[in-house]
Amino acid sequence: MSMRVDIDTDRCNGHGRCYDVAPDLFDADDDGRGVVVRADVPPELVEQARRAEGGCPERAITVIDS
């Protein structure tokens, strides 16, 4: 079982919630859009991943559980 995060860049409009609530997984690029800095999600970052997914107004963040 492994968990990953992903950003749909077409949906992203730079609200900035992901890097605000999940700073260990996401960062802001120079335009303020989200970038994934760490795609794999260890157990201690699962909460951050879920908060980022649930906090994006454009639903641009997905958490993939495989």
Binding site: R11, N13, G14, H15, G16, R17, Y19, D20, A28, D30, D31, G32, R33, R50, R51, G54, G55, C56, P57, E58, R59
Partner: protein, 412 residues
């Protein structure tokens, strides 16, 4: 479903302006009737969304649900209309569409990027302190005028590189553009246009002074004057145009947000005590209050620039499109117990800063200001309450704000 198998919405309510409730007219027509000038407008706004999630009226279509509004915000066929901001030219970037809009946002987004705005924190705190020094010894203050107006105005002027003495003029022009004494829309537009012209003349003067001076400055005016994209810079008209939009967009909005946040904390002492005791919970609290209060309640008029549809609702080219962020932020399809403000809310995907391609360019600046200003206020004045014998007066006009915010506290 129709016989052709098309998906047809069954929740579109057709209503004429004259038959609308005052609350709906206050929202969709920006009618200054006072119906929502209350401490808790959320019940009425939620009622509108429940009874009419989509409204079709003489001027176009209004959306009140989160899902529809996010879809509309993303829809490139829905652009802006040149109206209501004191300019005959579309204001950049809000009233621009398509590739041109993308081009301007590409220029402007980096100037307002989160890391850049975070660097302003010490200045914001220092300014907050200076303003607080002015009343901390009194034991009481009307905070809207003493803090919520001057703080964002001063930051704005500094970032832009305009002299502080311009503040009263800019605020007065912004007020004349956004809410003048006219009784009809047409009249309001005429007064607004005149104020817009005066504003642009003044901004042009400042631009000219810079040119004559010839020196470089570390501010936005300098950046605008020296932009280069594909060998092209911005001409004076564009620079003044952008500055006009920012004057309108950057003053009222942060003032109203700041006033709503502090007013809410003043009337919810348990939460206020929590965030004072645990300041790192303040950002979450601010997000939740922004969701609940939605100081900028809606998009204003947008327009369908082509025939289009939003989740099965057809919109004809030229029809007005109204998006109510405030009602979306109370949508139970998105938020658990939306009519309760919870400090600990997770999954707070609110759209108080709008949704879609016109997401508020200044949102990172606004957040930096709100967080630093409220935190600094709490450091200096941790315990405040609504002054006895007085009460908070809310105004729901283009923005929702605590226009009269009388607070008492232990004098320092």
């Amino acid at each position: 479903m129709t016989t052709r198998g098309e998906f047809v919405r069954d929740d579109v309510v057709e209503v004429r302006l004259e038959d609308m409730s005052p609350e709906l007219r206050a929202l969709i027509a920006y009618e200054p009737n006072g119906a929502l000038d209350v401490e808790v407008p959320q019940t009425a706004i939620d009622e509108v969304r429940q009874t009419m999630p989509v409204v079709r009226w003489e001027m176009g279509v209004g959306f009140f649900g989160m899902d529809d509004i996010v879809a509309a915000g993303r829809n490139p066929d829905i652009g802006s209309v040149v109206m209501g901001m004191g300019s005959e030219d579309p204001l950049i970037p809000l009233q621009i569409d398509g590739d041109l809009h993308r081009h301007y946002r590409k220029l402007l987004d980096p100037l307002f990027a989160p890391k850049k705005m975070a660097a302003l924190e010490p200045d914001i705190r220092k300014l907050a302190d200076e303003l607080i020094d002015g009343f901390v010894g009194d034991g009481h203050v009307e905070l809207h005028d003493a803090f919520c107006v001057p703080l964002p105005s001063t930051i704005f002027l500094r970032i832009f590189g305009l002299p502080l003495e311009d503040a009263p003029f800019l605020i007065s022009m912004k007020d004349r553009i956004l809410k003048n004494e006219a009784t009809t829309r047409e009249e309001a537009e005429v007064i607004g246009q005149a104020a817009g012209r005066e504003l642009r003349e003044h901004l042009q003067t400042r631009l000219d002074e810079r040119r004559v001076e010839g020196a470089r400055h570390d501010d936005l005016l300098d950046q605008f004057m020296h932009f280069q994209v594909d060998g092209h810079g911005l001409d004076d008209r564009e620079v003044v145009n952008i500055m006009q939009l920012f004057t309108i967009a950057g003053l009222d909005t942060v003032t109203s947000s700041l006033s709503c946040i502090v007013a809410w904390l003043a009337t919810h002492p348990d939460v206020r005590r929590q965030v004072v005791a645990e300041p790192d919970r303040l950002p979450d609290a601010i997000e939740e209050i922004m969701r609940f209060e939605s100081p900028v309640p809606s998009s204003g008029a947008r327009t369908a620039i082509r025939d289009t549809e939003v989740n099965g609702v057809p919109i004809k080219q030229g029809e007005m499109v109204y998006l109510c962020w405030a009602s979306a932020n109370l949508d139970p399809a998105t938020f658990d117990h939306p009519l309760e403000a919870h400090l600990d809310r997770v999954d707070n995907r609110h759209i108080a800063f709008a949704a879609g391609i016109h997401r508020c360019l200044g949102s990172h600046l606004a957040r930096a200001e709100l967080r630093a200003a409220v935190d600094q206020l709490h450091r200096r004045i941790p315990d405040y309450w609504v002054s006895e014998g007085d009460q908070i007066q809310y105004e729901f006009a283009g923005v929702r704000q605590a226009l009269h915010l009388p607070l008492s506290f232990t004098a320092a």
